[in-house]
């Protein structure tokens, strides 16, 4: 145990707790955006996933993602039920913290990723279908892609793809899968013919604020040490979130004539998404540019999906898919070895090849996530049925799926 560093371990465990908070925070962020008849069901999606993936991860998810490599594609089953994952560090991943601390930090990433998708199928998905989808998606999409990018021997890691905290692994996978889910499930009943409004904007702002708070663990924790790199990641994370919130609010102001509170909240999340892959590689000036890009491009992405009449109910693709892709490519533009000596420079620092590698990573992750998600949804639809019956959708999912009501006054 002489290799364990107390400061690094304390920071990583605290970061794991911060990232854990993000999933219920996401529940509040999404919960405020749906109608009051669906708020419990929406929050339940996030809370249930916290429980489900916590168990899946220790049983087989961690082994598939980080276990000994098989062909660059998937980890082995050697670490099932955390066999061999103990209090000693694993120098392949984090040399100064117990292997279990690294495992539980990564668990919280595996938890929040499928929870992000739930915003796309909000207000119409059958709970049973959601349960099966989450378990299959975590196993067949998240775990392999995490191995590709972060696992020792993973093919994208070997290629040199940079993803500090999950721009491709977390946000691109979930954002693309959300778009596929929205297309396969179809539009909500009444959309376009009756008002479908957020029932509690204050809940959404609270959720966004807690997400921002937790994101410091997400990004600065990904340094895996409590030194200068963590501090740098912390600063650029805050800067990009703030800049994207300002930008989104401004763009929506120019577009619709008023500075939207919900827009500022969504913008902050978009900025946090975009800085995620870059947070360990870029300086604060790049963070400002990344935030400006996130606020603009993600807003445009959402307008486009609405124009195409895709009912991505809570704009998961626009924020996480578009933001994740922008962040991954921006990493290829702005990465600097002056920030992180272990990383390659990006395009603006004389290494255009890095942008090409990032493009390969983005393309591969989009294709894989889209195809596997489509197959999973079609199979579930065949055996379980994806959507609730029409009359249940009218009554609301709180009553029909959970036999509960969020508000009694």
């Amino acid at each position: 145990m002489e290799n364990v560093n107390a400061g690094d371990t304390a920071w990583l465990l605290a970061s794991a707790a911060l990232v854990m908070l993000m999933t219920p925070a996401l529940g509040f962020f999404y919960g405020g955006l749906v109608r009051r008849k669906n708020v419990l069901a929406t929050i339940m999606h996030s809370f249930f996933i916290l429980c489900l993936i916590s168990v899946q991860w220790v049983l087989w998810g961690y082994s598939l993602a980080f276990g000994p490599d098989h062909g660059g594609l998937i980890g082995g089953l050697d670490w099932l039920a955390l066999r061999g994952v103990g209090q000693e560090p694993n120098p392949d991943y984090a040399a100064t913290v117990p292997a279990q601390a690294f495992m539980v930090f990564q668990m919280m990433f595996a938890v929040i990723t499928p929870a992000l998708i739930t915003g796309a199928f909000a207000e119409r998905k059958r709970f049973k279908a959601f349960v099966v989808f989450t378990l299959l998606w975590a196993t067949l999409v998240y775990d392999p892609v995490a191995h590709w990018v972060w696992g020792v021997g993973g093919w994208l890691r070997t290629l040199g793809a940079l993803d500090f905290a999950g721009g491709t692994v977390v946000h691109l996978t979930s954002g693309v899968s959300a778009l596929v889910a929205a297309l396969v499930l179809g539009r909500r009943k009444g959309l376009g013919s009756e008002p479908i409004e957020p029932h509690d904007a204050t809940m959404t702002v609270l959720g966004a604020s807690l997400l921002w708070f937790g994101w410091f663990g997400f990004n600065a924790g990904s340094a895996l040490t409590s030194g200068g790199l963590a501090a740098s990641a912390f600063v650029v994370t805050n800067t990009a979130a703030a800049m994207a919130a300002l930008t989104w609010m401004t763009v929506s102001w120019l577009h619709k004539g008023a500075p939207s509170v919900l827009g500022a909240s969504a913008g902050a999340v978009a900025g946090l998404v975009a800085i995620t892959p870059a947070s360990g590689y870029v300086d604060v000036s790049a963070a400002i540019v990344i935030g400006l890009g996130a606020g603009t491009i993600c807003y445009a992405g959402i307008q486009l999906t609405k124009r195409l009449r895709v009912d991505d109910a809570l704009d998961v693709f626009g924020v996480h898919g578009v933001g994740g892709a922008w962040g991954a490519l921006a990493t290829g533009l702005f990465a600097s070895s002056a920030v992180n000596a272990a990383a390659a420079n990006g395009f603006v620092y004389g290494n255009p090849a890095q942008l090409g590698i990032q493009l390969v990573a983005v393309g591969a992750v989009i294709a894989y996530a889209a195809i596997v998600t489509f197959v999973i949804l079609k199979v579930i639809n065949l055996f379980v049925g994806l959507r609730v019956p029409e009359q249940d959708e009218v009554l609301g999912l709180d009553a029909t799926q959970h036999r509960e009501a969020a508000y009694t006054i």
Partner: protein, 35 residues
Amino acid sequence: MEFLAFGSFAILVVAWLVAPSKGEVVAIEERRKAA
């Protein structure tokens, strides 16, 4: 990069100065009454 960063922020400041005030105040009030 510093030039880009200052320029990005300056764009926002100018936008706040020229941003219009319009919208659906009446529609929001009507929705509140209907609720």
